[in-house]
Amino acid sequence: MAGDVLAEAFFQEGKYVQAFSSYGGAIRGTPVLTAIRVDDKPIRLRSNIDHPDAVVCFDSSLMGPALLEGSGPDTVVLLNSALEPEAFTEWGDLRVATIDGIAIAQKNGLGRIVNSAVLGAFARIMGAPSLDVLARVVYEVSPRKNEENAQCARDGYEMVKMMASTAVAE
């Protein structure tokens, strides 16, 4: 779902996107994966992403080698966690950012639904999509509590924590 929202925001900014998710075999509560490509020209690749520019992890307990496969020194790793980014240096020389999605969700009355906050954080650290477009898309596609979700995206954008090495494209 978060992947679809992010893809829609890039699409509304006029980008070509391709997003695909694991499905079918997934059991409720087990990890699922979504991959997104964004480009200025049509996307022809029909294969997995080998070297991601960013890895977004909605549950930091999943952090580990499997998640980081194909990541390099330039890959940004965004984790949903109350911890500081420096807490994840054990996994290697990574550009880590963290966002306390649950705190933001609870503050806005969304319980433990962290998607919107994490997407806001993503927009900040990657410099795209723009917060205005993202917040509007989050508002439009949320099944309910639309304004609360949009506010979570804005809060995520403001409250993301980055390591010094995690350069921010403003």
């Binding site: 699409f11 695909f20 499905y23 996307i43 029909r46």
Partner: protein
Amino acid sequence: MSAVKLENPALDPALLQERRMLLKGNHAVSYGVMRCRPEVIAMYPITPQTPIVEKIADLALTGEIDAEIMTCESEHSAMSACITASLTGVRVFTASASQGLFLMHEMLHYASGARTPIVMPIVNRTLGSPWGFWPDQTDSLAQRDTGWIQFYTEGGQESLDMVIQAYKIAENPDVMLPAMVCHEAFYVSHALEPITVPSQADVDAYLPPFNPEHRLDVDRKESWGNVVTQEMFYRHRRDMGISMSHVPDLVTKADVEFAERFGRGYGGILEKYRCEDAEMYIVAFGAMCGTIREAVDQMREKNLPVGLLKIRLFRPFPVQAIQEAVAGIPRLVVMERNYSPGLGGILHQELKAALFGMENAPLVHGYLAGVGGVNVSVDRIEELTRKALAETPVVESVWV
């Protein structure tokens, strides 16, 4: 089985215009079906086809699709419903995949024998056992002797456009055979992409209403399904073959007309990508073609003269077009995502048969690159291309 016909609410005229939407490949198919105005849609869900029929149900609810929707108790029933509905002279749609397609198998033969031009997208998925949900074309390829026309597409836009073209080809009075439009699970079926949904007016102008010469109608007093003699069966099969032989030219024509009206074309029977002065063509169909384009670009930058030959029409197998396309090319390497145990890659085997007797026929390598949905990356394609250029081909398809 239940049939639902909803009262049609007033439609926003904007919905009839061309629309640019972010859609999954399966939903693109549903919008393509919508523009074709089928009168009967018989459906049964199966992963990974289900989003097609879910979206059709949504579009029926909003009135954008005005068809009789039949929710059936099995795929066998869905195809049976399609056949009888089609015989009454209305345009019919269904979709399936994998295990569900196999439950339909008996009725697939009946559909082509009854000359019902049903259009059915197939979402290619691995077959149990063992269980999986991965892209693999063995499901639809195993239906290659059922008398259905088969197209293989690379992405959601091509699938949408081919549903429209498939009706035009299948319903041609010289054809009157059913057609499958096959795209792969995951990389196409569940991939969100920007999609152009053509305007209703343009599709109406391109695709005339279905109006067959013969139909089941109590006032006409025609029937279908009598017991026949050996000679009648012989003639019937021969006639089906004659109808199949008309398909390649009509595919070319349908694509040219489509490109003229909609500004998008796909090359018809097959497409050559960067094949100029090539030492070898990579021959493929389906989603892998997109990745191969990127690989060809990468190899061309390194002065490796290879190109892509994308096969779009698999049944009838376009022997003449393929022979013309590969004339003078030293080597072909097939990379495919299907497997017939005891035979090999199905495209590899059919391609070799198509070149039989051809003077100076190219050497043909067959690599089982993507069986079971394994990832085939750009670098992997380059690696396999270099492997083929360096070795002598063997008769068998090779596990790489």
